[in-house]
């Protein structure tokens, strides 16, 4: 397929661009295979807008006389309006945008065409390999092993080729356990708590069904993670009701009788369309510019978004509490083990492990607990809050995770190496990107698409000095402790940086950031100067003393 066939009007002049908090600008609109480009015809070329087609969530057109107007709503929640003179041009452009923003084939997407304009110093596809992770682990414990059982993705299609499992469990046993777990997602190691040797595993639901099927190997695997005489907690991210309903469909949960050393706790984290609807309602409320206080609060409440944030954070805190405070091991699962499970395991690690609060560590966490763990990014992030098309598998699961991280960051502003911008950047790239990192639904699909060979990794770009400086928290001080966020409603806030990003002037907050950077920078400069002077002085004094001695 040629993109040119889809673009009947590649260029339109005298187009007027409207954005909130910006004066309208007149300029030229160009369509390419992957971008919508707007450029004002001013000489300084100050006003230029590049928009990826894949970032476009919905496109509406309307006409007043022969003046057409296209309203483009993006997955990053921005809304822009283009006034295009000429009915035909407008229709052509609108239909091109519609087609180009909803291409079916992954390989037609921009990452497959993108050529980086920067020098690649480090291949991000190879930055976070399971072997390195395992090496770290084996320096602390030898009770676990790296299993290559899933080499050809033959046992579990949504798992990576290598996983970490208890040493005493053979691959044969793993194969049996896989048949007992939804989507073959058998329990694997998610996190090892160095402080007390407790661990966190994740899996999908067991297929107990209504007749209470059991699997000896599954019981053995789970118990293998326990220290002698110790107990563990199974955190089921579904309410008991939902878990019981799942039994009727062949799923279920671990029966106490078969897992006597484990205590099960049910928490109700919502799934799929409920989350997607919540996002849609929230964004609608945030875009309502009417100045009525009551309507705003009730809309915020009705969206339930913060309720979801609270529930996820609470569950993650509970898991962290079990590990750090109760000295117990934890197994987390929901139904498939690809959504709420990952929210809980990754947030618990941020609470427990200082490494996850660094930039590298957080990237590694996203790779391990989301990409390799098989969170179906492509399905979940296909559409965002504005799409009119019928929802299939879309859900802001990853965005909710980022929101929770932001809540913790807000409560511990000095404990994270990265800043809010870093989280927002990840949100943007999960939905639309020039990089291949978030394409595909799991490692198997990524391997089939040959993403590492054919596309650039997001990490190759981010981890360069020039980019990193934008994402560094100026007031970071490494904090080696467990950080316990507050989860009361008074302690949680709407993430304005994402949801009100396009509806508020950012100037004053940016100025505050700059001021903060300035203060820290000046302090560092002085520190260096003092150090140099001190050394200089000491040297001179030493020389003098030597002279005196002579």
């Amino acid at each position: 397929m040629e993109f040119a066939e889809l673009i009947k009007t590649p260029r339109a002049d005298n187009v007027v661009l409207h954005r909130p908090f910006h004066a309208a600008v007149e300029g030229t609109l160009c369509l390419t295979g992957h971008h919508l480009i707007f450029s004002s015809r001013r000489h300084d070329n100050a006003e230029e807008l590049w928009l990826l087609h894949s970032n476009i969530d919905s496109c509406e057109k309307r006409f007043v006389g022969s003046l057409g107007t296209i309203v483009i709503k993006c997955k990053d929640l921005r809304i822009i309006q283009l006034d295009i003179p000429g009915m035909e041009e407008c229709l052509n452009i609108a239909s091109s945008i519609e087609v180009l923003s909803t291409l079916d084939s992954v390989t037609l997407l921009y990452p497959f065409f993108y050529r980086p304009m920067f020098e690649v110093l480090e291949d991000g596809w190879r930055s976070f390999l399971p072997d390195q992770e395992f090496e770290l682990l084996s320096s602390a414990t030898d009770e676990w092993r790296l299993s290559c059982i899933n080499k050809e993705f033959s046992v579990c299609p949504s798992y990576p080729p290598v996983v970490i499992v208890p040493k005493c469990i053979t691959d044969e046993e793993l194969r049996k356990v896989a048949t007992f777990r939804h989507g073959s997602r058998f329990p694997v190691l998610s996190y090892y708590h160095r402080k007390n040797g407790m661990i966190m595993m994740r899996s999908s639901q067991p297929l107990t069904g209504t007749n209470g099927r059991r699997c000896k190997e599954d019981e053995k695997l789970i118990n293998a993670s326990l220290r002698p005489g110790k107990r563990g907690y199974i955190i089921d991210t579904r309410s008991l009701n939902v878990a019981q309903q799942a039994r009727a469909k062949g799923g279920g949960f671990e029966q106490e009788v078969h897992y006597p050393q484990w205590r099960r706790i049910h928490k109700g984290i919502e799934r799929f369309n409920i989350l997607q609807e919540s996002l849609i309602k929230l964004v609608e409320a945030c875009n309502d510019q009417s100045h009525n206080m009551d309507r705003w609060l009730s809309k915020l409440e009705a969206s339930n978004w913060l309720t979801h944030v609270k529930e996820i954070l609470t569950t993650a805190c509970l898991a962290a509490q079990c590990i750090d405070r109760e000295g117990a091991s934890v197994l987390v699962h929901g139904t498939e083990g690809t959504d709420s499970t990952l929210q809980v395991t990754s947030l618990a690690q941020i609470i427990l492990d200082p490494r996850c609060r660094t930039i590298r560590g957080f990237e590694s966490l996203v790779v391990r607990e989301w990409l390799q763990a098989g969170h179906p990014f492509q399905q979940r992030c296909a559409q965002s809050a504005y799409s009119n098309s019928k929802q299939k598998w879309e859900a802001p699961v990853f965005l909710l995770f980022l929101d929770c991280v932001w809540q913790i960051l807000r409560q511990f502003p000095c404990s994270f190496e990265f800043n809010e911008q870093f989280l927002i950047m990840l949100f943007e790239h999960a939905y639309a990107s020039q990089f291949g990192t978030f394409l595909g639904n799991n490692e198997s699909e990524r391997a089939k698409l040959k993403l590492p060979q054919k596309t650039m990794s997001l990490w190759s770009w981010v981890n360069r000095k020039e980019e990193l400086s934008k994402f560094q928290n100026p007031i970071y001080e490494a904090n080696s402790l467990v950080i316990w966020p507050a989860v009361a409603p008074q302690s949680l806030q709407l993430w304005a940086g994402v949801f009100l990003r396009w509806n508020r002037p950012s100037q004053y907050l940016e100025e505050a950031q700059e001021e903060m950077v300035k203060i820290i920078k000046y302090n560092k400069e002085l520190q260096d100067k003092v150090k140099v002077l001190r050394r200089h002085l000491a040297e001179m004094e030493a020389a003098e003393r030597a002279q005196g001695n002579l």
């Binding site: 409320a285 206080m293 609060l297 509970l318 950080i483 409603p489 508020r504 903060m516 002077l533 002085l537």
Partner: protein
């Protein structure tokens, strides 16, 4: 009384045993704990209500609610003791004479001169001069010299030059409580002004020539504009109802060249109830997100804050952009009018966003113009219907603006919280009584101390590290966003849940930056010293004073390294400045709280689980029975770490 238990609001299991003392001025609770003996001090004047609850097996519960939003739950073993305490507190917290208040016995060990200096810190004459009056258009009038015209006004009031004594007195007779139009803020750049008054006694048809002349005079004092706005801050319905009582609002037909405008801010009774409702939401035990947001909306509190802000924005815009003078009034012109005038001034003039300027602003728009502090904040026993959080709302408006303009204010959130605290504390004389006249009669300045001097002395604690006077945000008028989602939805937990540290961010950017700035300053000093010495050394290659200078050097280095250490440890160490406050020790609250919230939550959600499932699931019970701090099952090395953590998370 011994063996009293102080309960933690978030979890009944975390009670501490201690001894309760009642003094003439404070309620003091001292914990029995061996090492720290934490103390909780509460001023009687801070107590807003005491509630005796039904006796239980463990004792007699007493609930004390404070005006600074602290809630204290005590359980007293003996019913009789509890009753005695209750009766004493009721008496002690409702003084009938000003002389009983704390400020008359409070002695910060300052001599007479220092006290007088303290009162001179904020000088309104100086302030009016700063604004640029008197000038060709405005002058001081002395008609109120002996409070003869209006007893709730100050003696010195600025009025238009063309307003004769006859006009002023005539106008005052046509205004509620004789509060005639007077200058609140004057804008040098364009001659526009904000004036304030009470409502006119217009009834359905009454007119007053002098009052009409007075408004004319205000218009003429601003030659650049051919009309003035008259802003009635009440809802239209309220204003109309007042007409039936012979009061009301200006008729545009009778006054030449005015534009009349209603801005609906509700009255003190609505505000009192609104706060009450919001505090009930704050007191909920483990509320869900919906409970909280719904309760917050239902209280209407943020809606009222927005109404006040909107009025301020309207006036600031009229003055700064249109260059039109504004006359503001409500009913008596001492509540809503004070709120609105001060918000507008704050938006208009960067000076009021400095620490000193903010003190001046409160002194000008609130204290001098007869805001009824005694009635509104219940310092003396009085009519509970007069009590209303009027200035609290103004303080919250300032906080909301600070959230939106982080570099625009010289002071920080702590400053606002401490000002609010002392409006109720009666520890300083500034906010006593209902008017300047009463304060002069009581000789407040000779018998009490000024809060402003106290705050000014500790100003290092109240600075906003992001503030720079030459910053763009501090050049002229602020233009806040007014759509509610833009900022006004924010609930101020730092104020209304002030004493529940567990709910707040555990690290403070402000404190961190303040520490860095302090260190920077030390570095600057050291740099200078080092530079000097280096120069000296280079000059006199073989100086005799080597030994001396080396000693100096060592002490200097020591000082710096300690400051470095504390910085790396915890930014929070710098926030322990609440000593003078009757607050719970800041090390309470922290992480164990959140741990407990979790167990509770999880108890709740698992209850149906227990009954619905035949499996024996006692795990949850176990979780909560065991000490949440892990106790015995953790390696000993860990408990040491834990205590570290507690210290770290404090504050």
């Amino acid at each position: 009384v011994e063996n009293v238990r102080l309960l933690d609001r978030l979890s009944s299991r975390k009670a501490v045993l201690g001894t309760l003392y009642l003094t003439a001025t404070h309620v003091i609770f001292v914990e029995n704990g061996s090492e720290t003996r934490k103390e909780t001090w509460v001023l009687h004047s801070q107590i807003s209500s005491i509630e005796k609850q039904a006796t239980t097996a463990t004792g007699c519960p007493l609930l004390i609610r404070c005006k600074n939003f602290q809630v204290i739950q005590l359980v007293i073993p003996q019913e009789r003791d509890c009753h005695d305490i209750y009766i004493s507190l009721i008496r002690l917290t409702r003084p009938v004479k000003y002389e009983e208040l704390y400020c008359f016995s409070f002695n910060p060990k300052l001599d007479k001169e220092e006290r007088e200096q303290g009162w001179k810190l904020v000088d309104l004459n100086e302030e009016y001069n700063r604004m640029g009056v008197p000038n060709n258009y405005w002058q001081i009038c002395d008609v109120n010299r002996d409070y003869g015209v209006c007893d709730s006004y100050p003696t010195e009031v600025y009025v238009p030059k063309s307003a004769t004594a006859h006009i002023i007195v005539g106008s005052s007779k046509f205004r509620s409580r004789r509060r005639f139009p007077a200058l609140s803020y004057y804008c040098k750049d364009n001659n526009a002004s904000i004036c304030r008054s009470s409502q006119p006694l217009s009834g359905f048809s009454a007119r007053c020539l002098e009052d009409e002349q007075m408004l004319q005079a205000i218009r003429k004092a601003n030659p650049g504009s051919d009309f003035i706005y008259v802003v009635d801050t009440r809802p239209k319905l309220n204003a109309m109802a007042n007409r039936a009582a012979g009061k009301g609002y200006e008729n545009e037909d009778n006054y030449s060249n005015i534009k009349f405008q209603f801005i609906g801010i509700e009255n003190i009774h609505v505000m009192r109830n609104s706060l009450q409702k919001m505090l009930e939401v704050c007191e909920l035990k483990s509320p869900s997100m919906s409970d909280f947001l719904w309760g917050l909306e239902n209280s209407g509190w943020l809606k009222h804050i927005k109404a006040i802000m909107d009025a301020g924005i309207f006036i600031a815009k009229a003055v700064a952009e249109e260059g039109v003078s504004v006359l503001v009034h409500c009913s008596d012109g001492w509540d809503r009018t004070a709120q609105v005038c001060s918000v507008a001034s704050l938006l208009l003039d960067p000076y009021y966003r400095t620490m000193k300027g903010f003190m001046v602003l409160i002194e000008k728009d609130w204290v001098s113009f007869g805001h009824k502090f005694n009635h509104r904040y219940g310092n003396l026993d009085g009519d509970p219907k007069e009590i209303s959080p009027v200035i609290d709302q103004f303080i919250e408006c300032v906080w909301q603006l600070m959230e939106q303009f982080p570099c625009a204010f010289e002071f920080n959130e702590r400053f606002l919280i401490h000002v609010q605290h002392h409006i109720y504390s009666c520890q300083f004389g500034n906010f006593l009584c209902n008017s300047q006249k009463e304060r002069r009669e009581l000789k407040i300045q000779e018998r009490t101390y000024s809060l402003w001097a106290h705050l000014w002395k500790n100003r290092a604690d109240y600075l906003n590290p992001l503030y720079r006077s030459d910053h763009s945000q501090n050049q002229g008028t602020l233009h806040p966003q007014i759509a509610p989602c833009n900022f006004l939805y924010k609930f101020w937990s730092g104020m209304y849940n002030r004493f529940e540290k567990g709910l707040h961010p555990r690290q403070s950017v402000t404190d961190y930056l303040m520490a860095v700035k302090e260190e920077t300053q030390q570095l600057e000093e050291e740099l200078e010293v080092l530079g000097e010495r280096l120069a000296n050394l280079q000059k006199s290659q073989l100086g005799d004073n080597k030994v001396k200078s080396k000693q100096q050097d060592r002490s200097k280095q020591l000082r710096l390294s300690t400051s470095n250490n504390s910085l790396a440890n915890t930014p929070q160490e710098y926030s322990n400045d609440l000593k003078s406050f009757p607050s719970r020790s800041p090390s309470q609250g922290d992480e164990e709280d959140s741990a407990l919230i979790l167990t509770q939550d999880n108890l709740k959600s698992s209850d149906p689980d227990l009954s619905a499932n035949s499996d024996q699931e006692s795990g949850v019970e176990d979780l909560s029975c065991r000490s949440p701090s892990g106790g015995g099952c953790l390696p000993s090395e860990d408990s040491g770490k834990d205590s570290d953590e507690a210290v770290f998370l404090a504050g």
